[in-house]
Every structure is written in C-alpha cells, then in structure tokens.
C-alpha cells in the first residue's frame, strides 16, 4: 500500500529495515538482530527523519463521537533518501550498539559515536565490528576476542578475518593484545 507522503515511500515490516543481504550475512555470522529494538532505535534518531516515517490510520467513529479508537500503525521507508544518507551505515550502527542486549536508552546514548565509526568502515569491516560486539556481549572495546573465535564465527570465510583485522589495526580502529582483538574506544 502507498504512503500518503508519495511514491518514494515503501511500506516495510519491522525486519525490512536491514537489507536482506546484510541480514542474511549477519545471521550466518551468529549475530541476533532484535528488529523491534532496531527499528525503535533508528526511528528515535534525527538522522532518520526524512527516511523513516510512521503513518497512523484511524478507523472511523460515528459522527459526533470521540472515542477510544484503535489506530493502525504503518512504517514506511524512503529508499532514495535512505541511499543518500548511507542507510547501511545507519542500520549497522544500530545493530552494533544493540548487540549484547543493550536497552533502547543505552543504545541511543551510544548511537552517534557508533554511526561515526560505521561511516568510516567498509561493509565487510562493519560486519566484523558487529561480530566482535556480538562475541563480546556488547563490549567490543572492553573485551578482547581471540582471532580463532572470530574466525570460527566466519566458518568457511575465516580467511577474510585476519586481513580485515589488520586493516582496522592500521587505521587505529582495532588493537591486538595478549587475549586477542578488541576495538578502540
């Protein structure tokens, strides 16, 4: 169904906020995405204002009545504008801060910083950061993860891990210590 805002707007269900390919990749890597939390977090951020909108449909009431009516909520995304603002980075930042069962309020406090990080990472690097967040229970800057653990999450793509980590280290985004790898705060 079309949005009242125009043809650029596409109705999405909660899980539609991530691209299918990213969702599939993250799922393969063992990352659990809480869609309600993720949509809530993104919907609360000013960065999504021209991209994500809610429309409410009010069922009719008899004339002359104000009553306890039950509106229906529908969520729409403006895909052209989403591309303009780097939607992949926005959603990746959301997944990153919510990984490890962070609450919405906590996620919101961390979001801007995470978005700055995601905007300088490639898609593959962002996925790796999210995996590290997942493996460290949401504490990727505090808990070091052995490279073998990260490689195990990547399974047949394990060979991609070390080059990605090395690249992040060179740019000062990740460091290696005696216990493994962690991101720099």
């Amino acid at each position: 169904m079309n949005s009242a805002h125009g043809a650029d707007w596409t109705e999405i269900a909660g899980e539609g906020i991530l691209t299918r390919s990213r969702r599939a990749r993250l799922t393969r890597l063992g990352v659990k995405v809480n869609d309600t939390q993720l949509v809530s977090l993104i919907a609360a951020q000013p960065v999504s204002e021209d991209v994500l909108t809610v429309e409410i449909t009010f069922p009719p009431l008899p004339p002359g009545h104000l009553g306890m009516i039950v509106p229906k909520t529908r969520l729409f995304i403006n895909k052209p504008k989403a591309r303009d603002i780097g939607w992949d980075a926005v959603t990746a930042a959301g997944v990153y801060v919510l990984t490890g069962s962070a609450s919405l309020a906590t996620g919101a406090q961390l979001f801007q910083r995470a978005l700055r990080l995601m905007r300088v990472l490639s898609t593959a690097e962002a996925d790796l950061a999210i995996v590290m967040a997942s493996l460290s229970n949401g504490r990727p800057t505090a808990v070091s993860i052995p490279s073998s653990t990260i490689e195990a999450a990547y399974e047949e793509d394990a060979a991609k891990v070390m080059p990605l980590l090395s690249g992040l280290r060179k740019r000062g985004i990740a460091i290696e210590d005696a216990d493994g790898w962690r991101l720099v705060d």
Binding site: T36, Q37, V39, S40, A43, A44, Q45, P46, S48, E49, T53, V54, I56, G64, H65, L66, G67, M68, V70, P71, K72, T73, L75, S103, L104, A105, T106, A108
Partner: protein, 526 residues
C-alpha cells in the same frame, strides 16, 4: 463534536504501539489527564505515562493556546454552541504534533531510561525524534529541557490569538482560518532554526536576557524577522487575566490564575498532580439496590459478605453521597439527594457487573453497626471526603475504628487547611500491587487513629504529595510497618478497586466555586 462529553474527551492519547494494546493515558485537552490502570499499568511505565500526561497539562496551562482551549473546553461542556465546539476541535487538531512532541520529550528526559518505554512504539518514537531534530541546533548550548521549554511554549503562543477577547473567540469560526496553528508554526520554526542568523539570535536571547519574559521577548523578536508572529510577554500578561475574568463571568466552573513563579514549588507540583484521574475499570457498574426492609432474597446479607485473608469475614458499611454513587454506577434513584448509609459490594461475575447496595437511608451508623456486630461479620466502615464535606455534619463516627475516608476532593487544599488550623498530622505512603498498581497516602489527624483519610493515586502523585508534606511542622511521616490497620486497609482497598471505576478529586456538582482571584500572569487552573 456536538453532544460529546468533554470530560471524557481524549484529545491527546498516549498509547502503546502497536496500538492493539490500548491507550495508557490521555489528556482531555481541557484541564486534566487520566491514567488507565485497568490493564495493570504500573512501575516505571506508569510514572512515564503520568509524566507524559502531566507535561500536556503543563504546556496547556502556561500558554495562550492552551488557556484558550481550556476556556473553550469548559465553556463548551455541556450544551456549548456548535461554533465553540468546532473551534475547540480545530484548536486541538492544530496543536497535536506540538503537544505530543513536547510531552514525549519531557517524559523521556524526565525519567531514567525513559526511552526504553517507547520500544516498539514507533508513533511516539517519531514524536521524540521530531522534537530532538527540531531542538538539535539549540542543544549545542542549551539542554534539551531548556530548549524545549522555550521553543514549544513559543509555538503555542500565536500573536493573532491575543487579538481575541472571550466573546469574539466564542463566536470564531475555524473555517475562516483565524490564524496559524501551533503545528503550522512548528514547521516555520524548524525552517527558522536552520537559519544561522536566527539561531544565533535565539541563543543570544537565552544567554543574555535575565528574566523569562525578557528571554521570551528577545526570542519572539528574532522569530518575527523570520515571519513568525508570536506574542510578546507583556501582551500575554495583560491578556490572560482579562480573558479569565471574562470567562469567570459565565456560569460554570471558575478559573483561578496563580503565579507559578511564587510560592512553594513542591506545593505547586502536588497541586498539579492531584488533577490526575485514574480509571480502574472500563466504566461504571450498574447499581442494584434495595432497602433494608424490602431487599428480600435478591440482596441478602450473604451477598455482601466478603472475606479477606488477614481481616476475615466482613461487610462494608458505606456512608456515601448519592453523587459518589452516581459517579461510580448507573441507576441511582434521582430522588436521592443527601448522603446515605448502606451495605456496599460489587459483583463482577455477572453481565452487566453490579454495584450492590442495601439502603439504610439516613439511619444512624451506630444502630446498623450494632446489628452487624451480632453476626459473624465484622463491619468495615467507609465514606468519602466529598460526602463528609457535603453532609450536614450530623453523622457521628465515634466508637468506630477504623473508618476509611476516600479522599475525593482536592487533597492539598484539605491538608493545608488542617495545617493552617495547626492540627498535627501523621501520614503513611503505602503501595499495593496485584491487578492495579496504586499508592495510598493515608493521613490521620491529631493522633486519632480511628479516622483514616486515604488518597489513592499514582506513584508520581504520591511522591509529589510526599515531597510537599515531608518536613513540615506538625507533620510526621511514618513507616508503612507502623500502620496499625493494615489488614483493614488492604480489605478496604480491595473493595475500592472492585466498586469504583474512577478515582478523581473534585468535579462534584455541589462543590462551591473557589475564590476567584486574579494575580500576576503565571499559569491558570480550572
């Protein structure tokens, strides 16, 4: 809106989302708000909703648009003109975004981890986001709360509105587009805040002006250069008392203008919170009643007997004004005019659910109580503060302990008058959970443990009352463990929750009008 009861209007609904879960609370767009506790709303979510709705009221009572809506709302109900109703509706629709953005932001900022309560509630997250985005240019220098306080109040203050006196406003047709609405102004403000000159001017206004009025005028001046016509502070101070005086010449509830910048802030907060209404059920019960002589088999004493794990078998003997029964049930005989004594119970196992009443008319409680004491049932006596205030004073509760008096007229005024008389006062704040999450402020005067005044309210309201009372001379806050009638109180509260669908202070037909007074512009109360 013809025929609509404004007292039940839900202008600003606060709902869960997906909304199938229902409305949690609403502001009536006039002068009060309601929390719906029937669904078990409790804990920090209850406080969040309470704060959200209170913020609607705060925005309403401190702005010209809100004042006009309050006055029109009161003038419109009941039997107001169609024009007034149309204008009130138009004004409500025209400030929905403004109100919801402000109230949602206030609730999130005003509670720890408040944003968590909006998880999955995309509609209100969008309000929150819009507020954050609007204020973002200002929040590099100001807190969100400070910025919101100024910007949303300015939004609710169109200059054109102050050109109307009450009479001309009552006859104003919204179809003639009398001026920009707050929601329209909100869009203009957004554009203005993206203009660096305007932004710098607004920040200077806040930084450099000493008083609220000076800051307001400087900000309004800046926005006029952007084509946004908002009133100046002195114009509002001149318009407000005149507008309210004009309203007070009409029949109906009076409004009192108070200066919110003077006086005890904790008292102002407590007085504001006691506007909060609680609905415990979807609606009123159907009254099934009989006289003590004729009730026969349908209303036997057994149908009133209840048991409580601590108190044991008992019946509730209630001394209630018929208006109390009318508020809580349908089918109260019209001829009932004075307080009356009766056995009270409810039956929610049948459809429609029943409020049961065996009527003793004006029989002395002592005689009825003596009869009850001959049975295995203990009498549990309750009344309400309104009933006592509206009765002729002849009722005598001596020899009864405890008596529970539900506070259903303004609590703060009641306690303040006792303090003014230098009565000593002990109070307890006791919370109950289960199907309804409630707090109860229980007050005893002058060490008399027989009479227990019970204000049943939300946690936010009990905190406000507690903050106001604590530390006052002659006032002692006691631990809940020290309350000697715990079992009887628990039983009484079970009956209250069963029999009453609505808890609110005031709104009684016979309440005398408050003293009318106009003081310097601050905020108004109806």
């Amino acid at each position: 809106m013809d025929g609509v009861s404004l007292t039940e209007a839900r202008t600003f609904r606060c709902a869960t989302d997906p909304v199938e879960h229902g409305v949690l609370g609403y502001h009536d767009g006039v002068d009060t708000w309601t929390l719906d506790l029937a669904g078990g709303l409790g804990g920090s979510l209850q406080s969040f909703v309470s704060l959200h709705e209170r913020s609607h009221q705060a925005l309403h009572e401190t702005t010209a648009w809100g004042t006009a809506m309050t006055v029109l709302g009161l003038a419109a109900a009941p039997g107001g003109s169609a024009t007034t109703n149309r204008l009130w509706e138009w004004m409500g629709r025209g400030c929905t975004q403004t109100h919801e953005q402000f109230a949602t932001l206030a609730a999130v900022e005003g509670s720890a981890n408040g944003l968590n309560h909006l998880t999955g509630n995309y509609t209100y997250l969008q309000y929150y986001r819009s507020a954050c985005a609007l204020l973002e240019p200002l929040t590099h220098e100001l807190t969100r709360v400070t910025a919101a306080d100024l910007i949303y109040r300015l939004t609710m203050s169109p200059a054109w509105l102050l050109e109307f006196d009450l009479n001309s406003l009552l006859g104003c047709e919204p179809a003639l587009h009398p001026g920009a609405t707050p929601d329209q102004t909100l869009g203009d403000l957004r554009r203005a805040l993206s203009d660096q000159t305007a932004l710098t001017g607004l920040l200077s206004a806040v930084r450099e002006q000493r008083t609220y009025g000076e800051r307001w005028d400087a900000a309004a001046q800046v926005l006029r250069t952007q084509g946004i016509q908002l009133h100046y502070w002195a114009e509002y101070e001149a318009w407000l008392p005149k507008f309210i005086d004009e309203y007070n010449r009409l029949p109906g509830r009076a409004m009192v203008l108070v200066d919110s910048t003077a006086g005890d802030p904790s008292q102002i907060r407590a007085e504001a919170m006691q506007r909060e209404r609680l609905t415990l059920h979807a609606g009123r019960l159907t009254l099934k009643w009989g006289t003590a002589q004729t009730s026969g088999q349908s209303l036997t004493p057994a149908s009133f007997a209840r048991t409580h794990e601590e108190m044991g078998p008992h019946v509730v003997l209630a001394w209630l004004h018929p208006e109390v029964l009318r508020k809580q049930s349908v089918g109260v005989p019209e001829k009932w005019a004075a307080p009356r004594l009766g056995l009270l119970a409810c039956d929610r196992r049948v459809e429609p659910s029943l409020l049961l009443w065996v009527d003793f008319d004006d029989a002395p409680p002592s005689i009825v109580a003596a009869s009850i004491r001959k049975t295995p049932l203990a009498p549990l006596l309750m009344t309400t503060l309104y009933t006592l205030q509206a009765s002729d004073g002849s009722i005598d509760f001596r020899g009864w302990a405890p008596v529970f008096i539900t506070v259903d007229t303004p609590m703060i005024e009641f306690l303040q008058s006792a303090l003014d008389r230098e009565d000593s006062l002990s109070y307890w704040v006791i919370g109950t959970a289960g199907s309804r999450y409630l707090d109860h402020v229980v007050v005893q005067f002058n060490e008399d443990s027989a009479l227990n005044f019970v204000y049943t309210c939300s946690v936010m309201t009990s905190r406000a009352v507690d903050d106001w009372l604590v530390g006052k001379e002659g006032v002692t806050r006691r631990s809940a463990d020290e309350f000697t009638h715990r079992a009887a109180l628990a039983a009484f509260i079970e009956h209250l929750i069963g029999c009453f669908w609505l808890i609110e202070l005031g709104r009684w037909p016979a309440i005398p009008a408050p003293t009318r007074a106009s003081r310097r512009a601050g905020h108004m109360r109806a």
